[in-house]
Amino acid sequence: MLSGTGNCIGYGIGKAKVQAGQNRNIQKTVVEYPEAELARFDAAYEATKITVQALLDREVEDTGTDGEKIFETHLAFLDDPGFVDAIRDMISEDAVNAEWAVREVGERLALMLSQIDSEIIKERSADIRDLYITLLDHLDGNVAVDEPEKDDKSGRKVLVVEELIPSYVIRLNKGEVAGLVAEKGNITSHAAILAKLKCIPAIVGVCGLMDAVKTGDLILADTFSGEVYINPDEQTQTRITCAAECYETEQCACDAEKAEDAITADGTRVIIEANIGTPAEATLADEACAEGIGLFRSEFLFMENRTLPDEEKQFLAYREAAEKMGTREVVIRTMDIGGDKPAPGLPLPAEQNPFLGLRAIRLSLQRKDLFMTQLRAILRASAFGNVAIMFPMISSMEELRDAKAVLEEAKASLAAEEIAFCASVKVGMMVEIPATVTMSDLFAHEVDFFSIGTNDLIQYTLAADRINQAVAPLYTAYHPAVLRQIALVAKNGHLSGIETAICGEAASDPLLLPFFVGVGIDRLSMSPNLVPTAKRGVRRCRDYACKQLAQSVMMLSTATEVKQALLAYQESCKES
């Protein structure tokens, strides 16, 4: 068994098809007639251009995958004298075979780009590799036309490649391949994100893969654990196959009804929203039929670049998300920088207790210039969709009032400049510090909504650092103190007529879902891919049973008992 990092979308099971990549066996040979070799290359070059143009035309009709940009870039590479002329020069001057020249030049350029200190440019080296591999395929007269075997699922292959390349992934169609396994690469790479967008189970970074697998081997890839089994024993085969079947049955059921609202058997509606980190992910949220964006983390703008994003750049990002979601609400959280999320453009002194230090709203209020820029950008985006603003890490009423005062200033400055924004933009706060839970009755009068950030609420309630492995067992959402706080916030929210959402990891925990329904949580926000499952979960709930469950687990004294009670409830639902 080998292992790597999976993209958490099911299982890839099938016969392996090993794709020759840049490491195919190419011998350097001296050719007698370089002109003939040049003619071969030119023919392959023209054929490659036609292939890429065809892919581009196909992608123009398809949206959301950035395929257009990729193939436009490929065409540009093909037009680049630094690439094509270098190959032709090598063939004619060194009198070598075209294959050798293509790989030499391609690899040299790919290597050069991969050494540049920029993640985006590093990824372009994969594009060059893909392009020269296509050239090599045309030289071989062996253009990979994968005959899709749509009707026969058992005939689908697991593609085994050295490196996952964006343009390679983009030409695959969901349903035509069983899975993708790559020896190299990172799960956050563009190619891996594309695989996720296409819903293809993929595992990357599998050491020793290319040596261990040959075409025809049976591969079972578990994208949740990242495990890749090659010709495993029968017991393992049965185990993984069963897990895959269960997953697919459930997924099909969830997917089939993803567009429907999440309403309990007794008619209570829970809004299921998505958490996103970039505007592009709004497309995923839309496809999953999320009913809004419950949390748009604005940090990516600050963490990606060495310089701080200006108002215009932020505005464009927020507007893109707002426009993609149309009338559905997009809650933009102001920057949650500091602690475990440093921003390269905003160096901060090291702190002994970063989670208790200068971060999030505390930093925003100290750096009013940055805060003002961000609020203006969010307000401007509010003219293009249904935008709400949320402040993170509020611990005192002063902070909330100060933040709201800056917001009013931002509104006034925009109004003075006659720039459009939504004057009635909703303002909410994260409830993630026990102090605000305790005072949630008072806070409820001053905001339009609450959003419980369980990740931080757990760590602050239980005084357990969430990234310290040594105290990991202490960190649990099932602690009765955590559950009681969630119930209190929801209750105080309702008394003042405002909604309470949950946007932490716990929001997507199927065990906790009936509890959340039972205490009257109005909204749950989670990773886009989990939205359909949560919606289905809500539909299975009965209000009275959930209320009873919530009451009873809050009377329990340990997290273990709580988890047992929640599991027992889940089992009882399955039986009935």
């Binding site: 540009a76 004298p81 690439f83 310089t307």
Partner: protein
């Protein structure tokens, strides 16, 4: 020869698509066109050269054009660098 300093406004810097359009435009001129940043310089008629200069959004770059149509070339290239395409 003409020289000009501009601040790049392309949203993601000169990566992929903007680099491709710089190359496409540069190729329509006879002049030699180069883009330079931090002592690293590249031929604007080669996307690989442009990428290797590693230009990010808000970076300041030096553009030089040399040839019969240098004035027009300068204008066209700067227009792309200063536009907010992504």
């Amino acid at each position: 020869m003409q020289n000009n300093t501009v601040v790049v406004k392309c949203k993601c810097g000169l990566h992929a698509r903007p680099a491709a359009s710089v190359m496409k435009t540069a190729k329509t001129f006879q002049s030699k066109i180069r883009i330079e940043k931090d002592g690293k310089s590249g031929n604007a008629k080669s996307i690989i050269d442009i990428l290797s200069v590693n230009v990010n959004c808000m970076d300041q770059v030096e553009v030089s054009c040399d040839g019969a149509d240098e004035a027009e070339a300068m204008q066209a290239i700067c227009a792309i660098l200063e536009s907010e395409i992504d």
